[in-house]
């Protein structure tokens, strides 16, 4: 009797479990179109007038482009450039830190007006946001400890962990290399900072980073620079741009024109020197 009961209990539990999965999948499919975020609406189709409040989205964990100071204020190369742009047009800028993995979604949903935070203008991103003119170029690199003597291909085929920043272009490069047949394990971490630490701690054999991050890092942290060597570059040059919502012609064009103007002045080099980028 009790055996029959326990079997019935097991079947009931299994039935609820399987039923839950089926119902969840069906409900998700049916409800998804209803709760999907509404398509992005253009807010700044025309040039935002003087006095407009523009919300600048930034990853506050990406020094020296965007970070915070001890008072919690946004600082960095991109923050300075955005302030120069805002001064030119008389905009009120709100610098809003946002998690990198959801920052484009926040632009689409209207929580942010644009992202200026060392964002690479990739083809995939260009399908969902509109980029300004590029303002900074860099190249991806494979870096390992100076004690690592193996070649690029030996490291990529070592079966060990190679660190990268989750959601960043280094993550995309790791995926591309794996798809190409290299035999390593991807170690996606929250930031480049932690990716480098994984190598110095011995948890990864190498790190995929970009010169936009490693350049300033090595200039300001010579002790870190002394531990690493660039094994090889990966791919071709990439560029950063400021990302705006699709349809925001006015904002995107204004940012592009302002960027070109600023880059044509000596202020630009001064800013690059100030932030070591």
């Amino acid at each position: 009797m009790s055996e029959k009961k326990s079997r019935r209990g097991f079947l009931k539990t299994a039935g609820v479990g399987v039923g839950g999965l089926v119902v969840g999948a069906l409900a998700g499919t049916a409800v998804a179109p209803l709760i999907a975020p509404p398509p992005p609406k253009a807010k700044w189709a025309d040039l935002p007038p003087s006095g407009s409040t523009i919300i600048h989205g930034m990853d506050a964990a990406y020094p020296p482009f965007t970070q915070i100071d001890p008072s919690g204020n946004a600082v960095g190369f991109d923050v300075d450039v955005v302030n120069l742009i805002a001064n030119k047009y008389g905009w009120q800028i709100v610098h809003k830190p946002w998690d990198w993995s959801a920052i484009i979604t926040a632009v689409q949903s209207g929580d942010l007006d644009f992202v200026a935070s060392g964002m690479t203008d990739t083809a995939a991103r260009s399908e969902i946001v509109w980029f300004s003119v590029p303002y900074y170029s860099y190249i991806h690199q494979l870096l390992a400890l100076v004690t690592e003597t193996r070649s690029r291909d030996d490291i990529l085929n070592s079966g060990g962990f190679i660190a990268c920043q989750t959601g960043a272009t280094s993550d995309e490069w790791a995926t591309k290399l794996l798809a190409k047949g290299y035999k390593f394990q991807k170690l996606g971490l929250d930031s480049y900072e932690l990716a480098f630490k994984a190598v110095t701690d011995g948890r990864a054999v190498a790190v995929i980073s970009d010169s936009a991050f490693t350049g300033p890092l090595f200039k300001t942290q010579p002790d870190v620079a002394a531990k690493f060597r660039v094994v090889s570059t990966i791919g071709g040059d990439a560029t950063y741009g400021y990302a705006t919502r699709p349809g925001d012609y006015g904002l995107r064009n204004a940012i592009s024109h302002a960027l070109e103007d600023i880059m044509a002045t000596t202020d630009w080099q001064d800013l690059r020197d100030k932030w070591s980028v």
Partner: protein, 220 residues
């Protein structure tokens, strides 16, 4: 270390945000959980089924998924434009309500039917009996379980960093990057969470000791 010391006030001010998240989430969860527990015990079959589905939904989905689902999906689609802090509090509250309902439900069931029967025998309505006889006892019994919910909530609140809520973890991440010192800020944040968890649990336990009914549960 010196660089980190400069950022100490910045991280410490995250405590206010974390406590705001916890107070809001626990408060909303308390109201939802209490009403749901009453519905689950004294409600009709239909109400019980609906409440069961609610509990099942919020207990089955990871918090980070709920946050994204509500912030980027449900709220915008229904016309509510909540900022990240408000959305996080609501989601934490909705989820906590599901868990708290089970704490209160267990406490009410532990009293048995006799308390409500006695109230009814004295001429009280069912609703009055629940609110004046059953709940005052059940709430006392549920306090230890409720302190676990506080401890869980304070740790879960950290996941709202994904929406940019400036609570302790979000600020710690920013400081770790700005100072190029990941270890010290995270150690400090861990210490803060320990202090907050311990202090909160201690307060709840003190309330429990002061309000417990001798002989009802535990020692006399």
């Amino acid at each position: 270390m010196a660089a980190f010391a400069e950022f100490l006030p910045y991280i410490l001010s995250g405590v206010v945000w974390t406590l705001g998240l916890v107070a809001g989430g626990i408060g909303i969860g308390f109201v939802i959980g209490l009403l749901m527990s009453i519905g689950q015990i004294y409600g009709g079959e239909d109400i019980k089924a609906i409440l069961h589905a609610y509990v099942w939904f919020f207990r089955s989905i990871p918090l980070i998924v709920l946050l994204f689902l509500f912030y980027f999906g449900v709220f915008p689609a229904t016309g509510f434009k909540l900022d990240p802090l408000a959305c996080s509090i609501v989601v934490l509250g909705l989820r906590s309500g599901a868990y708290q309902s089970q704490i209160f439900r267990g406490a009410i069931l532990s009293l048995g039917d006799t308390q409500l029967l006695a109230a009814r025998a004295l001429g009280m309505s069912k609703l009055r009996g629940i609110f004046h006889i059953v709940l005052p006892q059940a709430l006392r019994i549920s306090l230890p379980g409720w302190s676990n919910e506080y401890a869980t909530m304070i740790k879960d609140s950290a996941i709202t960093f994904t929406l940019g809520v400036l609570e302790i973890l979000t600020r710690t991440r920013y400081v770790a990057m700005a100072t190029h010192q990941p270890l010290i800020p995270y150690f400090f944040a861990g210490g803060l969470f320990i202090v907050l968890t311990y202090a909160g649990s201690k307060i709840v336990n003190t309330v429990y000791e002061r309000t417990k009914i001798p002989g009802l549960v535990g020692r006399l």
